[in-house]
């Protein structure tokens, strides 16, 4: 596998204060590698430096120290931008253009032909599930979620090899969230590398191969999601079942003393102390004819890791 993004010791100081300038370190020696075809999650609390990293990579701000390369090209090589996409943090676009005009404009900047631009604009607006009635409405009349969709569309207009998404799900309703999440997942099949930042752990968990956790400008953790989960310790698992009485379940779970049974209105909830016990529990439940409603970890390991990092 080749490397899609390589960040080396990237550091950024902001100058704040009007009369007396002070330097504030927003990003401190970030070193990170993202492989091609990966979906990489970039986690961090508010103000951790996620957007700063994105902006540094896009050359919107310049680093105090360190370097980075995207697709093997130094970030100062503008021609490389033909192969990448970027969704800024609070997307806001020319409000005097319609969604379609804006996307055609973006495609034109990449040098596609007129007909190609038109086709791309339409295909992308459909892809991000923007209501067809809004395609020819001026962007000033768009809601936040609609703008977010347009933003995602413009980031994909050139079939990029790598996309940088700064909080792609913010401002979306639950349905929109799922659509965008599915869309990002589908980028995997096009072998598009995705580098996205978010503080919504659920999205990261569902989508990412690997993730990094940033804390006050420093890299706190990086690795495969399984490994990150592992670092938070073993997980208790929760099974929700229906279609069997408590007595039946209790009898079936006899061989598993560690399993805790709680009755719920529709059935029962069974908690086992670690993932390893789930197989046995499933087998036992199958024997007494219960129906499985869901299996999931109790709490969230990533969240624990994330929270632990704040202190």
């Amino acid at each position: 596998m080749t490397v899609a993004l390589e960040i080396e010791n990237l550091t950024k100081d902001y100058e704040v204060g009007f009369a007396r300038k002070r330097r504030v370190r927003a990003l401190d020696g970030l070193t990170l590698t993202v492989e091609r075809g990966e979906i990489f999650g970039f986690l961090g609390a508010n103000g951790a430096g996620k957007s700063t990293t994105m902006k540094l990579l896009m050359r919107l701000i310049y680093p105090t120290a360190g370097r980075a390369s995207i697709l093997g090209c130094d970030i100062n090589d503008i021609a490389m931008h033909a192969r990448i996409g970027y969704l800024p943090e609070h997307p806001y676009f020319y409000d005097y253009l319609t969604a379609r005009e804006f996307l055609e404009y973006c495609a034109e900047l990449f040098g596609y032909t007129r007909t190609d631009c038109r086709q791309r604009a339409a295909a992308l607006l459909a892809l991000v599930h923007l209501d067809d009635k809004s395609w020819d409405k001026q962007l000033r009349k768009f809601s936040k979620g609609m703008l977010q969709r347009v933003g995602l569309a413009q980031a994909l207009v050139n079939d990029p090899e790598i996309v940088f998404l700064d909080e792609p799900m913010s401002g979306l309703d639950p349905v929109g969230r799922r659509e965008i999440r599915d869309l990002i997942a589908s980028l995997r099949h096009k072998e598009t590398t995705v580098f996205f930042c978010s503080h919504i752990l659920a999205d990261i968990e569902v989508l990412c191969d690997r993730a990094a956790i940033l804390q006050k400008g420093r890299l706190a953790h990086a690795g495969r999601l399984e490994d990150l989960r592992g670092r938070a310790g073993t997980r208790a698992m929760e099974l929700v079942v229906a279609g069997a009485t408590a007595e039946q379940l209790r009898a079936a779970l006899q061989p598993l003393p560690a399993a805790q049974l709680t009755q719920t209105p529709g059935g029962a909830r069974i908690e086992v102390p670690s993932e390893r016990d789930v197989d046995a529990a499933l087998a036992a439940l199958r024997d007494c004819g219960a129906r499985l409603v869901s299996v999931q970890p109790v709490g969230n390991p990533l969240e624990d890791l994330f929270v632990a990092n704040q202190n």
Partner: protein, 330 residues
């Protein structure tokens, strides 16, 4: 959504449940993910596959489509066209309505005078209004040209595309120049028509004003470049003030030279001399009274004025690009 009986779940034996990433593709569904904030809810694999297929169809490069063949010039023109569209949709050209009203009113109220006097006044008034309105647009739109994009962060998405900052600046500049060209041309045609009207037929003056119109346009191009330079490092209000100051002083440029020669102290002489050479000499570009008398600038003077303007603009844009290239955007 019917819940599946777990006995029929086609799970891999070693991975019977929910490590989400690995199960996404072979678990049909266990439960619908209805609220996406729900941790660990299971994404429906079937849905995923469907979306994937539509995505593939939708964005695969259409047959015969060309790959991007972006050249700098094309990008600059694209940006310029968009800047023009912005100005039009922000109703910048509405000033033309005011201009037409002004001309019509003066043509009506000047009815008492002789046709020749009337024509001269129309030319004076028309060209002055052209310069005034144009300067307003150049200063107020020019200073907001780039600042607004930074403030509203509209330029973030654009600069992440293969667009250099210099190209962006030049594109915006040319876009406003195009807007001014339309503005000035329509006004010029308006003045010509008004002249034909008051003279009740063809009059050479209707054509002889055009070199003066062209000079006004060139001057406006300089003013836009000045506004762009100032706005590349200060706020629009300050930039507008500074640009206006340059505009005013630029018209008295010749006096600066005299002042430099007349003052006693060397320091003052150097200061005024420097101002004279640094600030644009705009007095070359306003030949209003001459135009009113039907006099045209000598071709050589015109060419010198044009060359001076082009060089001056090139220097200003280079300086603006230099500053803009080094900026960190919030």
């Amino acid at each position: 959504m019917p819940l599946l009986h777990f006995l029929s779940l086609p799970c891999k034996p070693d991975r019977p449940y929910v490590t989400l990433r690995s199960c996404r593709y072979h678990l049909p569904t266990v439960r619908p993910c209805c609220s996406c904030d729900m941790p660990n809810s299971i994404v429906i694999a079937e849905r995923l596959n469907r979306v994937t297929d539509t995505h593939r169809e939708a964005t695969s490069t259409p047959a015969g489509a060309t790959m991007p063949r972006g050249t700098g010039v094309r990008r600059i023109l694209t940006i310029a066209r968009n800047a023009f569209r912005e100005a039009v949709r922000d109703r910048v050209l509405y000033n033309l309505v005011l201009f037409v009203l002004l001309l019509t009113a003066s043509a009506i109220f000047l009815g008492e005078l002789s046709a020749a006097q009337e024509a001269k006044i129309i030319v004076d008034l028309g060209l002055s209004a052209m310069l005034l309105f144009g300067t307003f647009i150049a200063i107020f739109v020019g200073t907001g040209l780039v600042y607004k994009e930074i403030e509203r962060r509209t330029l973030y998405a654009i600069l992440a595309k293969p667009v250099g900052r210099g190209e962006f600046l030049l594109g915006k500049y040319l876009g406003l120049c195009l807007t001014l060209a339309v503005n000035v041309s329509v006004m010029g045609v308006g003045i010509s028509l008004a002249l034909l009207f008051v003279k009740r037929g063809y009059d050479p003056l209707a054509l002889r004003i055009w070199p003066a119109v062209a000079l006004i346009y060139i001057e406006l191009m300089i003013v836009v470049a000045v506004a762009l330079l100032f706005s590349s490092f200060s706020t629009p209000a300050l930039a507008a003030l500074l640009t206006f100051a340059v505009f005013v002083i630029g018209h008295f440029s010749a006096d600066l030279k005299t002042l430099a020669a007349a003052t006693g102290t060397t320091a003052a002489r150097i200061f005024f001399g420097l101002l004279f050479y640094l600030l644009p000499n705009l007095s070359h570009y306003t030949k209003l009274t001459d135009a009113g008398h039907g006099l045209m600038p000598a071709p050589s003077a015109f060419i010198v004025a044009l060359a001076y303007a082009l060089i001056y603009i090139a220097v200003l844009l280079a300086a603006a690009t230099f500053i803009f290239n080094r900026r960190n955007f919030k």
